[in-house]
Symmetry: C2
């Protein structure tokens, strides 16, 4: 399995929001997340750095050390890379991985399948809003700074043989679920009330610390790096899914079901039929 | 074999100097060159694009098409990638390759080895100077725009089993040969008069079209993407090296020999003992 992902300054992050080690860890996790979403484990990592000449080389070394340490914890090794001059500080991370089972694609969801999501949604997007408002710590900020590493959970899910499709939430639940739906030619019917929202996010929204409501963050917030996946909807399969997640200490929530497209085109919809839209666009907004 | 390399706007290229297809081709060749230098063949390519929102998507598609076509000609396939917003236009290319023989490293040169270089040196660097002076065509400009693809030559060289070390010329002959010398703990003694210089480069320098002399371009000019390699210095080995290059239609020149370091530290030296210095530094100058 091969994947590449990037973290670009002022698009994915602001330098003052991260320690260098955190930035290295984040760059690895964001790229590894793509592999996890195929049921794979990261093995080898290449890091291509683009950096302005004004960047302290000690800073760059701390980024690399942060990446190496985080990768090592899941058995992956930095084996090469490149450094080039640039205006933007950017980290392009290639991950080579392996899958014990057959890789899981976006295109395997079937009508009748259950739709699942790991962890909680919207925390990272809320964390960005908090950082922009001047916060510097807390659960939401941490969710953005250090995305979850779902390698173990994804491998256990893949080993069940019951997962029919999977994707990671990078641009937002609605948008990424939409990719699965279109690739699988199905219509997702999502029970919005079931979207997993953390107590920290509910609290921040209720208290007025954050504009907007918790459910919108959960539905459209990017940078979550949780897994959306599908499986057959029967009780026995449900049990296997729940066990696999429990064994890896990962919360999982059944949030809806896949249907035949019918009149509506393939895509993500609420149970009332409303199309689910919104999420991060690289060319829509800037951080 | 795994490698990653990047082409960053205003560091490696100016956008107005290239058609989009040329840029894609160049991004592939620069990255594939690293693999060639290990005696490997590119197989799979990942392209991570960082691009400003103002970039026409048709332009990006033409870049990708240029890369795909050039890779296909040597049996390599674009299998994935990523697009992210950024201020700089940049292409980070990961190449996964394979080697039939044992991969050739920088660290295998031995005292007594002959030092070889493919093609001619300095043309690409001279081409950049010509572009900066307002030229838009010619052999030197082409050498920069479309680096040589030495996949076939490198594989044939590797198959001889006679190549002890190899590197590609990206930052300049002196600098890249220096990497081999230090990795191998040897001292290169180079006959500067033998550095292969094209008639076009000699002509441009003689006519005053270019400031500086042809030999300096050859010694320190970057972006050549030719191969520097070493082999045993005997006549039989020399014959095998010359045959391998001839079969792939590639010019090759024996330019010196490796010696024990002695009093001088490992590195690249002229025959008169002068240390060879200079070349491209990402944090020294800007294009």
């Amino acid at each position: 399995l091969l994947t590449v992902d990037s973290c670009v300054e002022n698009v994915h992050f602001r330098r003052e929001w991260f320690s260098p080690a955190m930035l290295g860890r984040r760059a690895f996790r964001v790229a590894a997340s793509d592999l996890s979403a195929m049921g794979g484990s990261p093995r080898f990592v290449l890091l291509s750095i683009a950096a302005p000449g004004t960047l302290d080389s000690a800073y760059a070394r701390r980024v690399v050390k942060g990446l190496i340490a985080d990768a090592a914890a899941v058995g992956a090794f930095l084996v090469g890379g490149n450094v080039a001059g640039a205006n933007d500080l950017a980290f392009h991370v290639t991950v080579v991985g392996s899958a014990k089972a057959k890789p899981i694609l976006r295109s395997g969801a079937k009508p009748g399948d259950a739709v699942w999501v790991t962890g909680t949604l919207g925390d990272a997007a809320a964390g960005i809003a908090m950082l922009e408002a001047g916060a510097s710590r807390g659960r939401l900020v941490s969710a953005y700074r250090t995305p979850p590493l779902r390698v173990d959970t994804a491998c256990r899910l893949a080993s069940t043989g019951a997962v029919t499709s999977m994707i990671d939430v990078s641009d937002g639940f609605a948008q990424d679920l939409g990719h699965v739906c279109r690739a699988s030619s199905v219509r997702a019917s999502i029970d919005l009330a079931r979207l997993p929202v953390s107590a920290a996010l509910r609290r921040a929204c209720r208290s007025g610390l954050l504009a907007g409501d918790a459910n919108s963050y959960a539905l459209t917030g990017g940078e979550a790096y949780e897994l959306i996946f599908t499986s057959a909807g029967d009780a026995k399969t449900e049990g296997r899914i729940r066990r696999a997640c429990e064994e890896s200490g990962c919360m999982v929530t059944r949030v809806g079901a896949m249907r035949r497209p019918g009149k509506e085109p393939p895509g993500a919809y609420a149970r009332d039929g409303r199309a689910l839209r919104g999420g991060f666009s690289h060319y829509g907004k800037k951080r």
